[in-house]
Amino acid sequence: MMPPLIWLHEDCLRASHNLFDHAPEAKAVFIWDDAYMNAMHYGLKRRVFIYESLCQLPVEIYAGDTATSLAQLAQDGRDIITGKTANPALKAIMAIMRENAKLSAIADVPFVQMDSPPDLRRFFKYWNKAKKHAFSYDGRP
């Protein structure tokens, strides 16, 4: 069975991220997507910061359109593992990839673990619930 391809995106630039545990031997890639970064309003400062971060990670960097490049890198049918994100632009790319590949988005370790969803209408409604766990190691209940 072919090892999966790890797709590292800008929201998960850490070698200790959970996603690496799912495929410790897999090749990891980052797609340097100029159009994506322009759409995110990223200037040179941010781009240098991201590139410097990538240089310290076990990842290969390829330049190009993200979906097209990932499709080419996974064209032999291998699965794709990536980091879970709230970013709709990255989620849209994940949806495209799922049309032809099995893609799993792995969540980072949570800040707090709550037994029911918090009220998000205002910060202190959330915080009054979250603070019961926020002062515990690993945010455990």
């Binding site: 995110m40 400062k45 781009r47 910061f49 410097e52 709709p88 980072d108 002062f135």
Partner: protein
């Protein structure tokens, strides 16, 4: 496909390579803040969450500058919180951990309501409606050439370093939205273009909080607050 280079003789060579991959961004400044896990761990080792609680609201207070590393997942909120818990009792590090909670709060809203990112969540509570606000950021703000010396100082810092103290962000955001009556979206895009830690959720929802489209009232500031919180020679106005 050919993999890009990852080793460079120095930072200047890395910057030149990034420029070659970033058409149209050649003349822009680069921050002194260095990316990567090594710099992130060094910054984490330097934090003082107890002093942070006491002085974070002052522009020269004990802020941590961890935000760019947290923004891109180079540091997790979990490990930063765990580190802070080792440095003081819960009460002593409460303000610091609460600020981490803000990041978690914005990310949860972002995941639930991605359509809110660039849309007014609620109406403005300023006596004006959205159409009363200009769509575009004027050149004098983009260039840091307004008639306010304090705002020009913040804009220059933002553009040069990619970082602004949280209160400076709030002042500048309020100046853009309330003093100049410009849509918060224009200010949010300006911040995202320059902040190293600019996160769509934290940045845009905070702008909506300042604007009052995600708060019960708008955020304003006054000269007294600005002078009290800034130890340097920043004036609100050049006049």
């Amino acid at each position: 496909m050919e993999a890009q280079k990852k080793t460079f003789p120095d930072r200047a060579a890395l910057i030149a390579h990034v420029k070659s991959l970033s058409p149209g961004h050649d003349g822009e400044p680069v921050s002194d803040m260095v990316g990567g896990r090594i710099a992130a761990e060094a910054a984490l080792a330097q934090i003082d969450p107890i002093a942070y609680g006491a002085s974070r609201n002052y522009l020269d207070g004990a802020v941590t500058r961890l935000s760019p590393y947290i923004r891109h997942g180079i540091l997790s909120l979990n490990e930063v919180r765990n580190h802070a818990l080792q440095m003081g009792d819960d009460k002593a590090v409460e303000k610091f951990i609460q600020e981490l909670g803000w990041r978690d709060f914005w990310q949860r809203i972002y995941a639930q309501n991605p359509d809110w990112l660039w849309a007014d969540i609620e109406d403005y509570k300023t006596g004006f409606v959205a159409s009363d606000y200009a769509d575009e950021l004027p050149d004098d703000i983009a260039n840091g050439e307004t008639d306010s010396a304090a705002m020009n100082h913040f804009i220059a810092e933002l553009k040069t370093t990619g970082y602004l103290h949280n209160h400076a962000r709030m002042y500048l955001a309020a100046y853009i939205v309330h003093w100049r009556r410009i849509k918060w979206q224009a200010g949010a895009a300006f911040f995202l273009a320059h902040l190293l830690d600019g996160d769509p959720a934290s940045n845009n929802f905070s702008f909506q909080w300042v604007a009052s489209t995600f708060a019960n009232k708008p955020y304003f500031f006054n000269l007294d607050n600005l002078q009290k919180l800034h130890a340097g020679p920043v004036r609100l106005s050049q006049q």
